[in-house]
Every structure is written in structure tokens, then in C-alpha cells.
């Protein structure tokens, strides 16, 4: 199959790449373009299941499987090739995984963003593996002159069942590659009981050895002969412009080669570089020293007064007045107006901006030469990086190559390839010389695409049993829309659709409103996106209602969810549904109940706790998966908090790589606790206040809970797969704050916790 692998490579980039700037941005925007397409079909490039694209087998049986999506820590570079190998009946020990370049026309969508890799590519990868297996079986049958139905592929061997004759995969690979692909309706996928690797948790991550030996290649590690290094001083305020720069002293720094002015962006920020001044040097340190020696005057522009305290007051005001109605059932306003004050409960929750702070800061290496541009980088969305570079450099997409390297943490930051285009722009000025453009930690925190900041206001009217009969949720947060549309505001479907509009609670009068507030920073998406503020507010508020009713939180939550049933998201006014088909992916309250029960059982909910301890619970439905968390905390007399244990439950449908699912659950618990305990980016005079890990603090070893138990629920191959990367995060912060309330009686409604317990 090796030959076909090479010849078909030429067909790449046939698809239309015009108009992709919006669609590469975010799944929800893609949907807006074509409302009839769902799932992978709604993504640029769609899916490809042609085995020639992904599999090649040498005469000696050595097998190469292409990983077309990039690794950022979720395990996808292992899991998807492993799925192919399983259906192929390949021996994993004889498989080498090779990383694909950016080329969505050839491979299908490559954007590792939105917890979609397994969700969208499980079936195409199974089909590719099964097709190749059937072609090998047919080739062996032809060699023997027997019916193909008598041949079975088993672990790199083809067996003629009646006679016991055997051939290796390599013996017939060349014959197999010349056979026609099986017709789609002739594909024979394995029964899940026949899986060797899927669901077994026995396959080690392909990069684990290289990582432990310091040999794994990340974007930061790219080296080329004659390479130079660059850092950029960017306008400190979003949309600011360089008025003047004095580079006299910078050019005197040993190793500094050049100082290059970069134009700022116009219009919406999108994935455009911010502009500023690049310093190019013989090593990274020299470039950084040169940058320190630059003297600037900036024109800060319209966002120069952005201040987080002032902005919070604006959000609170917006959350207290009527806003755009996004879901409305019954009569919320009238029932609220008529209710007795004693039956009304209201609460407001505040969540600040967050930075991704990937351990590897953004970095890209670019070489512009002979009318072409070649890029080596760690990027979640390689095709968007390619398209962005082509557009900025005025090159045809065919003249740009993007080679993805391992990503040292993504969490959504590296799906925005502004830093890749920036490197290409500097490389264009250094024509013929490869340039590695490195962001420092300060650059990363001060010029991130931040998680939004929000005020979530909830109001309820409860009946005599303490159950809500009226529910009003008003969310006030700058929108991701502002990234793509200048001045864009208001909750987009994809934001409202994240555990706000689609609460599956049986409440007769229910309304969601989204305020329209201006953005003053680049609003991006951070692992699990708007699920963070929405799940925090909704799950804390339910716990508050349970307490008001004098009832056990878990039982109250289960009652609110109601009996197991499948809800069409459209009946909850959710027309987005993560761009998945509402028929294929209904909201299954039974699965939601199951994860609650699993997390609660793991934590032994209801047991008698030591003094100062408390258990807190939260549930979420995000990226087509159901997650629940129970946190146990201990708070001492001085208000010192210790997270004793965390129970994490997930139902993601079929479990493809359970060992990596557990890893994501553990990591999601830590990241959720991190943002809950200390995560905050704030602004003053339009500038980010924080600059490094001393003032943007993240969870460290000593604060990390000693016990994180993971509970994988249901493993059902009858339902389509759900996401795994993002779903662990949303229930963690509300479970923690509910546990703090259980332990102390203090209801805290503001993230992060910091010293609020000592106050």
C-alpha cells in the first residue's frame, strides 16, 4: 500500500479554502454557515476513511499508521492509530505512528479542539482499518484461489481457516493495495467483543518513552541549520499601535541581529498577530535582552481604560436588568413578580478571566524561501495555521507547509495560530534564514486569548416542598463572537449551549437571558469554555436550593433531573448541541443520573464525616459526555482548606482508551481545582496585571489532592462517542465550593477562592 500512499498525496488541497477564516474558528460558527450538516460533516475537511491515506504496509510487514491529528496530551496520537490497528488486526508492536502534515483535504479535519477527535474519527478510523483488513484477506484468498470468506486476518497474519495455511500481512500488501476499496455497505466492522486494543487500556502512549528520556520533539525543540531566534514586543493594550521605537541600545546587545517592526491588526482580532517589534538574534536569550533594551511609545487605543473591578460592576449591572431572551418556557417574569419574598431565592456568581498557561509557551519556526513558507510548530489547528500564513504572506496555500510537532499543552490556546503567522511574518523579513519565534511566559499571560469573565445571576421561586417552579438565569459575559466580528457581543448559541440553555430540569417556568457586553480583550476558549461559568453557577445554585429546602443535595439534584429519559435538545431551545445531530445525541437524563450515582458511591456520599470536613457534588453535560464530581474538603479553624479527595465519574459512551480517559479525568480534576482555588487574570489600564507563575498561580504538587478516584461509567458501544478532553473540568469548581459550604456553612460565589475562607 506504500505506493498509493505516495501517489494520492498529490491530490491534496483540492478543496476550496476560501472563506475558511470564520469556519476554522469555532464549531458553532461553522454551523451558522450550513445548518444542515452535523458532527464531523460540519467541520472543515470533514472525515476521510480511505485506508490508503492512513495505512502502509512494507513487504516485511512493518506497518505505518498516520496520526492525522496532533498530540497535546489527550492521547489522540495513540488512540486513533490504535483504533485503525484494531480493525486492521495489526500487531501493535509492528506499527509505527507517523505524524501527518497539515492537509485537511487529504486527511479530513485536523483541529484538535472541542473534544472531537474520538467523537468524529472513531468510525472513520474503524472503517479505514476494516477496509484494509478486508483487502488483505481478499488478496490472500486470490493468492490461494479460495473464497475470501474462508480467510481471516489475525494479528498481522492471514489464515486460511479450512486448511490452516498462513501468509503475513507484508506478503500480500502490494496485491491488496491494487484491489478496489470495499463498498461502504460491504465493510465488516468488528463486534466490540472482538476488540484487541479498543477499550483494553493495554497500549502505552506512543511518545511516553521519548518523553521520559527528553527526546520527544515539541514545537519549542525545533532546530534547523543557521536558525535564528526572535521575540516580539507587542502592544500592551489590545488594538494598540506602535507610535515609535528606538532600537539603538537593542542593536548593541551581543547576538542581536535585527529589529523588525510588525504591523498591528485591523478589524476583529481573529487569529491575526498583534503587531509590535520583533528582535532577531543568534539565541533566544540575546533576543530577550535586546527586547528589554527597546524604548517604545505606544498608542494604546480604545481599550486603554479596561479595568477588571470597574468591568465587574458593569457585568453585575447588566445581569440585574432584562437581557436578550434565549430560552423561555412558562411565564418567568409574572411568577417572579407574584411570588412571596420568602419563596424567592437569588444569587450572583463571579468568575474572572483565565489564561491557558500551557507549560510550553506559544512557539513557531518558519522558513520563507523561494516563494514558499515552511513551518514547524506545536499547533492544535494545523490547517488554520497554514491558511493564516498563506493569507498574511500573500502565498497560495500550496506554497505553505505546516509540520505539526508535539504540543506542550494546548487547552484551546494553540487552536489560535496567531503566533504561527507572526513567525512567518518575521521569517519573511529574514528570507532564506529559518526563524524560531518564542513567546516568553510574560508574553503568554499578557497576550493570551483569555477565557471570558462573567457574572451569572440566578433567581428562583420555590414551592412548599422547596422545589423550583420558576428559574431565571441571566448570564453577562463578553463573547467569543468579538474575536471574529468587531464589537461582537451577546451569548452565541455555542456559549449559551454550554450547560445554560440546556439544563434538563423539570421546571415549568424557565428562562435564560444573555446580556450584551463589550469585550476589551481577546476572548478565546479555554478547556470546556462557557461550561465553566455556567456549570459553576447552576450547580452551586441547585445546592443552595437544596439547602434552602432542607434536603440532601444529591437526592434533590436527582429529583430535579427527574426520571431517566431522552430529551431532544431542541425542546430545550438548544439548536446548537455542539454541532451534533439532536437525534443522534439526545440528552439522556438516565446517563446523567448514573454519573451522579457513581461519583457519590465512590465518595461514600452520606457517610458521617470528621469535624471540619464536607462533601460537595456537581454534575455537567458537555461535549456529549456526562460527568459528575464529588469533592471532599477539610477546613480548619483558621480557614485553611485541604482538598482531601476527588471522585470523578464520566459516561462518554464507548470507552476507546480507558487508561487515557482516566488520565484526562485526573488532569481535569487538577485543572478544575486550579482555576477554582487561584486562577485569575485581571486588567488595569488595559493591561494584564499578572506576568508569570508568581502572580498567576496554578495548582502545585502540595495542593493537589492525594486521592483522585476515577469512575468510568457504562462503556456503551450502542451510543455514539462523547468527548473526553474537556468534560472533566466543568463539575469540579462547583463541587469544591459546595463541599466548602458543607464543611463551613459559608457560601462563596466568587472565583477564585484564594483567602475568602480566612475573611
Amino acid at each position: 500500500m506504500n505506493e498509493t500512499l505516495h501517489t494520492t498525496r498529490r491530490t491534496f488541497l483540492q478543496g476550496s479554502l476560501s472563506g475558511l477564516l470564520l469556519s476554522v474558528g469555532f464549531n458553532g460558527l461553522v454551523r451558522a454557515e450550513d445548518a444542515r450538516k452535523y458532527g464531523a460533516d460540519s467541520m472543515p475537511g470533514g472525515t476521510v476513511d480511505n485506508p490508503h491515506v492512513f495505512i502502509s504496509i512494507e513487504p516485511d510487514g512493518r506497518t505505518t499508521i498516520i496520526a492525522h491529528r496532533v498530540e497535546m496530551g489527550t492521547g489522540v496520537r495513540t488512540s486513533l492509530p490504535m483504533v485503525i490497528a484494531d480493525e486492521l488486526e495489526a500487531d501493535w508492536a509492528r506499527v509505527t505512528v507517523v505524524q501527518a502534515d497539515a492537509n485537511e483535504a487529504r486527511y479530513g479535519n485536523q483541529n484538535v479542539d472541542g473534544s472531537r477527535s474520538v467523537r468524529h474519527f472513531l468510525l472513520p478510523m474503524r472503517r479505514a482499518g476494516a477496509a484494509a483488513r478486508q483487502m488483505l484477506e481478499a488478496a490472500a484468498a486470490a493468492r490461494w484461489g479460495v473464497p475470501a470468506s474462508e480467510v481471516q486476518a489475525r494479528q498481522h497474519t492471514l489464515l486460511h481457516v479450512p486448511t490452516g495455511r498462513r501468509l503475513g500481512f507484508g506478503d500480500v500488501a502490494a496485491d491488496a493495495a491494487r484491489l478496489p476499496l470495499p463498498a461502504p455497505d460491504q465493510l465488516k466492522l468488528k463486534d466490540p467483543s472482538q476488540f484487541r486494543y479498543i477499550g483494553q487500556g493495554k497500549v502505552r502512549a506512543v511518545d511516553s518513552e521519548a518523553i521520559a528520556h527528553g527526546q520527544a520533539q515539541y514545537g519549542m525543540d525545533m532546530r534547523l541549520p543557521g536558525m535564528v531566534y526572535a521575540v516580539v514586543a507587542r502592544p500592551p493594550v489590545l488594538g494598540g499601535k506602535l507610535r515609535s521605537v528606538d532600537s539603538t541600545e537593542a542593536l548593541k546587545v551581543a547576538g542581536v541581529l535585527r529589529v523588525i517592526e510588525l504591523p498591528g491588526f485591523t478589524g476583529a482580532p481573529m487569529f491575526k498577530p498583534l503587531g509590535g517589534v520583533a528582535v532577531v538574534a543568534t539565541n533566544t536569550w540575546a533576543a530577550m535582552q535586546g527586547r528589554k533594551a527597546l524604548k517604545f511609545t505606544w498608542d494604546d487605543g480604545p481599550h486603554a481604560t479596561y479595568n477588571s473591578a470597574t468591568y465587574r460592576a458593569e457585568l453585575e449591572a447588566a445581569a440585574r436588568r432584562p437581557a436578550k431572551v434565549l430560552r423561555d418556557q412558562g411565564d418567568v417574569m409574572q411568577t417572579l413578580a407574584q411570588a412571596k419574598p420568602a419563596d424567592k431565592i437569588a444569587a450572583e456568581y463571579y468568575l474572572p478571566h483565565l489564561a491557558h498557561a500551557t507549560m510550553e509557551p506559544p512557539v513557531a519556526t518558519a522558513l520563507v524561501k523561494d516563494g514558499r513558507c515552511e513551518i514547524w510548530t506545536s499547533v492544535q489547528n494545523p490547517q488554520a495555521a497554514l491558511d493564516g500564513v498563506a493569507a498574511q504572506l500573500g502565498l497560495k496555500p500550496e506554497a505553505v507547509q505546516v509540520h505539526p510537532l508535539l504540543i506542550g499543552g494546548g487547552f484551546g490556546r494553540k487552536s489560535k495560530p496567531d503566533y504561527v503567522t507572526e513567525a512567518a511574518l518575521v521569517a519573511k523579513q529574514m528570507e532564506g534564514t529559518p526563524v524560531k519565534l518564542v513567546w516568553s511566559r510574560e508574553d503568554d499571560l499578557q497576550h493570551d486569548y483569555l477565557h471570558t469573565v462573567s457574572v451569572e445571576r440566578l433567581e428562583a421561586v420555590v414551592n412548599a416542598q422547596g422545589r423550583p417552579t420558576t428559574w431565571l438565569h441571566r448570564t453577562a459575559a463578553p463573547s467569543i463572537l468579538s474575536l471574529f466580528v468587531e464589537g461582537g457581543k451577546g451569548q452565541m448559541d455555542l456559549e449559551a449551549g454550554m450547560t445554560a440553555i440546556n439544563v434538563p430540569y423539570d421546571i415549568p417556568n424557565l428562562r435564560l437571558e444573555g446580556a450584551e457586553v463589550e469585550a476589551h480583550a481577546r476572548i478565546g476558549w479555554f478547556r470546556s469554555v462557557s461550561n465553566i461559568p455556567h456549570a459553576f453557577a447552576v450547580q452551586c445554585f441547585v445546592a443552595e436550593l437544596a439547602h434552602h429546602a432542607g434536603r440532601d443535595h444529591k437526592q434533590y439534584l436527582l429529583d430535579l433531573i427527574g426520571p431517566p429519559r431522552k430529551l431532544d435538545p431542541r425542546t430545550l431551545a438548544d439548536n446548537w448541541n455542539y454541532s451534533e445531530s439532536p437525534e443522534r445525541y439526545p440528552i439522556d437524563t438516565g446517563r446523567m443520573r448514573d454519573v451522579i450515582e457513581a461519583a457519590a458511591k465512590g465518595a461514600r456520599w452520606g457517610r458521617k464525616l470528621p469535624k471540619g470536613h464536607g462533601l460537595g457534588l456537581a454534575v455537567a453535560y458537555s461535549f456529549m459526555s456526562y460527568t459528575a464530581t464529588v469533592v471532599e474538603v477539610a477546613v480548619d479553624a483558621k480557614g485553611e482548606l485541604k482538598v482531601v479527595a476527588v471522585d470523578m465519574a464520566i459516561d462518554c459512551g464507548p470507552q476507546i482508551n480507558p487508561e487515557r480517559i482516566r488520565a484526562q479525568m485526573e488532569g481535569g480534576a487538577v485543572m478544575g481545582l486550579s482555576l477554582a482555588l487561584s486562577g485569575e487574570i485581571s486588567f488595569d489600564q488595559g493591561r494584564v496585571v499578572q506576568s508569570n507563575f508568581f502572580d498567576f498561580t496554578v495548582l502545585r504538587h502540595a495542593e493537589s489532592p492525594r486521592t483522585i478516584r476515577t469512575h468510568l461509567v457504562n462503556n456503551n458501544h450502542e451510543v455514539p462517542p462523547g468527548g473526553v478532553g474537556e468534560p472533566p473540568v466543568p463539575p469540579v469548581a462547583p463541587a469544591l465550593f459546595n463541599a466548602i459550604f458543607a464543611a463551613t456553612g459559608k457560601r462563596i460565589r466568587q472565583l477564585p477562592l484564594r483567602d475568602q475562607l480566612q475573611a
Binding site: A212, H213, M220, L406, R441, E666, N692, R700, H701, R706
Partner: protein, 155 residues
């Protein structure tokens, strides 16, 4: 010219004395296993051993480092404790993105060379300067305990 003693071999760089060891390793000598994460000795991604002591290479000038034995992640496969720790890391599937793990391993090896029976608290103290954003802390702790058991068995 400055001579640095890295993983038992002298290597020469032509850089100002104040240049941090990290950039000499990465940009001049191509030892890219030692990672850049913060530049302020806050995250531990650049941890190396200086005469066996865990040290952040991002703030250590080569003018100081030149008088000492420098060991990097690339030297761990020739180190008895290093090999045990690397094997534990791989077996327990510690890494997610993996970017911080070289630094984590260097801190863990330094701990286990001093103390083959570390308590949880001693692990926390030794490892607290190493941040992992993916949240692999529980597995790092488990891998250190696994390596410790094996080192005790070998002792």
C-alpha cells in the same frame, strides 16, 4: 569560550557569562530535553542537576555553571536512579502533554538519590517547584513511590 561539563563531557560555548545555562543547552548545544517554561525559576521545566543538586537552568548563568558538573535529562539513561525513575514514568503513563516531565523527572531523581523512602510530604516538598498544567501530579507521586520501592529492593 566557556567550557561546560555536561553529562560527563566537556562542551564549549561562546556566549556571555551571564547567559542562563538553559539557553546554552538548548540553543547552542542542542540539548533540547531541558525545557523553557517561565524564565524565573518558578515552574521547574528546566530542572537540571548541578553537582547532583536540582537546579533551575533558566536562572543559572553559565559563568557559574562552568565550574560544576551539569547533568541533564539526556544523561539520565546512564544513571542508575534515572533509569528506574524513567521506567516508572513510562509504566504508569504519567505524561499527558509531557512538556514538563523532563523537569519533573530530574527533581524526582534528585530526591530519590538523597532518600529512597520519601514520605508524601517529602515528595511534595521536593516536587513543589515543578508545575504540571495537565495535572499529572497523582501519577508523578505514584511513579516516585514505585521507583522508590524498586530502589529499596535493589539496595
Amino acid at each position: 569560550m566557556t567550557t561546560l561539563h555536561i553529562n560527563g563531557r566537556p562542551q564549549q560555548v561562546s556566549l556571555p557569562d551571564e547567559t542562563p545555562l538553559l539557553w546554552a543547552l538548548r540553543d547552542e548545544l542542542g540539548h533540547t530535553g531541558t525545557k523553557f517554561g517561565c524564565g524565573m525559576a518558578l515552574c521547574g521545566s528546566c530542572t537540571v542537576h548541578i553537582d547532583g543538586q536540582p537546579t533551575r537552568a533558566c536562572t543559572l548563568p553559565i559563568g557559574t555553571a562552568k565550574n560544576h558538573q551539569i547533568t541533564t535529562i539526556e544523561g539520565m539513561e546512564n544513571d542508575r536512579v534515572g533509569r528506574v525513575v524513567q521506567a516508572a514514568w513510562t509504566e504508569l503513563g504519567v505524561a499527558q502533554c509531557g512538556y514538563c516531565q523532563a523537569g519533573q523527572i530530574m527533581s524526582a531523581v534528585a530526591l530519590l538519590k538523597q532518600n529512597t523512602r520519601p514520605t508524601d510530604k517529602q515528595i511534595d516538598t521536593a516536587m513543589n517547584g515543578n508545575i504540571c498544567r495537565c495535572g499529572t501530579y497523582p501519577r508523578i507521586r505514584a511513579a516516585i513511590q514505585l521507583a522508590a520501592r524498586r530502589l529499596q529492593g535493589a539496595a
